[in-house]
């Protein structure tokens, strides 16, 4: 297989993936830090490099609405957005998943206002975590590229929409090495799309999105829930197929330095990369530390995480968003729920960090490993949720 090695930012990498996917329809409205994805893609459209019908809309609410309309015809549909854009799409996200439309968002994670910030945290897509979408967070530009291609196919297989995101500026605007596949390879991998239904078959007219009252709503929702439960079983198989085709080694949950680990950081996105680097350093000092990175956040692989983490002394769970008076960040509450009633209960502490793009440094990661060891040794006496990378 021939690979082209190039230097690309996360946004460029995602735009290239979109070009190679060559979707039928893209409806998008640009927003920092995802603007470039839309801008580059619209260039591909004007330059005739893709066959896509590009719909320039007046808002993200309209973007997702146009995507839904296009997807009901059976078209392959993509968009790109960030932060307030995801929030404005929120209403339509539920319609896309409820209608089982495999629309794809190439997202860039950015804080939600107020105060206004253009920098990274995960509050935007975490705010949509109950919308019935597959959610994948990438660690670097390579993952943003690979997982965009993977998620398009996976979405079409399980008939659910998917969002792949990268960390705003940290990935979206940072240039790094990118291994690109040939266009044909991507097309062959994606194959022919088989929509569940189409609104364009005049001989077999259908009604999409009818009003449903008390006598059927719950049954219909239960069917949708089953789709994402089934997707949880199918995604690892589909990821294995991607690995084989593209010569990669992705897992829905990645384990790094975990063989005999006593302490681990669980983190999403780019921070997992920083943590991996630090565990390599700490391993040289004889510290038994590792990293667990959920690549897929929805569906949530709680049972698998319990298996990976149950024998540790302490788990440091990092959240780049805060649900405002829940029992911790989204990753923490999900993992601790998964551990409820389990016989083994490692110490678990939640570190809320990096809101609005606040940097998390090597030293911060080292401090977390120090803190979680102390938390375990002192018998979990302090509060479980701790705010770091902040002036106290």
């Amino acid at each position: 297989m021939s690979i082209k090695i190039v230097a690309k930012t996360g946004n460029e990498a995602m735009a290239e993936a979109m070009r190679q996917i060559n979707p039928d329809v893209v409806a998008a409205y640009p927003i920092t830090p995802a603007t470039e994805i839309v801008q580059l893609f619209s260039n591909y459209v004007s330059d005739g490099k893709v066959d896509t019908e590009f719909i320039a809309v007046e808002s993200e609410h309209s973007a997702m609405s146009a995507c839904v309309g296009a997807a009901t015809t059976g078209a392959r549909v993509m968009t790109s957005t960030s932060s307030q854009g995801i929030a404005l799409m929120h209403e339509i996200l539920y319609i896309a998943s409820g209608l089982r439309l495999p629309i794809m968002i190439c997202g860039v994670n950015r804080a939600l206002s107020a105060p206004i910030s253009i920098h990274c945290d995960h509050s935007d897509t975490m705010g949509s975590r109950d919308a019935g979408w597959i959610q994948i967070l990438s660690e670097d530009a390579q993952e943003a590229y690979d997982l965009t291609i993977f998620a398009m196919k996976a979405a079409e297989k399980v008939l659910l929409p998917a969002m792949v995101t990268s960390d705003g500026f940290i990935i979206s605007h940072a240039m790094s090495r990118l291994d690109m596949y040939e266009d044909k390879k991507v097309q062959d991998y994606l194959g022919e799309k088989k929509p569940a239904y189409t609104s364009l078959d005049v001989d077999n007219p259908i009604t999409i999105g009818p009003l449903v009252v008390q006598d059927y709503f719950m049954e219909i929702k239960r069917g949708q829930i089953q789709a994402i439960i089934d997707a949880k079983k199918q995604l690892p198989i589909l990821l294995e197929e991607f690995n084989k085709t593209m010569n990669k080694n992705y897992k829905v949950i990645e384990e790094y330095n975990m063989e005999d680990a006593e302490y681990a950081i669980v983190a999403l996105g780019s921070t997992a990369g920083t943590a991996k680097y630090i565990t390599d350093k700490l391993r040289q000092e004889g510290k038994k530390v590792g990293v667990v990175k959920p690549l897929v956040f929805r569906p949530f692989y709680g049972e698998d995480l319990v298996k990976m983490l149950e024998n540790l002394k302490g788990i440091a769970i990092l959240d780049r968003s805060d649900p405002q008076s829940a029992m911790g960040g989204p990753l923490f509450t999900e993992i601790t729920s998964a551990f409820y009633g389990h016989e083994k209960q490692p110490a678990a502490r939640n570190y809320i960090y990096g809101l609005g793009g606040r940097d998390i440094s090597y030293d911060d990661i080292k401090d977390i490993f120090k803190d979680i060891a102390e938390y375990f040794e002192k018998g979990k006496k302090e509060e479980a949720v701790k705010y770091i990378t902040i002036r106290e």
């Binding site: 569940a196 259908i206 999409i208 006598d215 059927y216 049954e219």
Partner: protein, 93 residues
């Protein structure tokens, strides 16, 4: 008609059968009921044009009555009839 379980429902609650709204009797939430006085009726069919539920029944271009499976009792026909041939009364069930 027995109701389907969640496992029997088509994907995304798509309705594959055109015109199936006819199977859904909408006439059971009426609180007022139109009464047609055939003697006053001049067969202008204005009620048929206005009825939002196609509940005015017509045969050979003549009004024949009201289909109470679908009439919601909105009273539009009674208001629009130029000859006061339709009056609204309280529905007694």
């Amino acid at each position: 008609m027995s109701k389907k379980t969640w496992k029997e429902i088509d994907i995304a609650s798509i309705i594959n059968k055109p015109g199936s709204a006819k199977d859904f009797k909408t006439g059971d939430w009426r609180s007022q009921k139109p009464v047609w006085n055939e003697d006053k009726c001049k067969q202008c069919l204005i009620c048929w044009v206005y009825c939002p539920d196609s509940a005015i029944t017509v045969k050979d271009e003549k009004m024949t009555g009201i289909n109470f499976d679908y009439c919601k009792g909105c009273g539009i026909c009674a208001v629009e009839c130029p000859f006061k041939a339709i009056t609204m009364v309280e529905e007694k069930k």
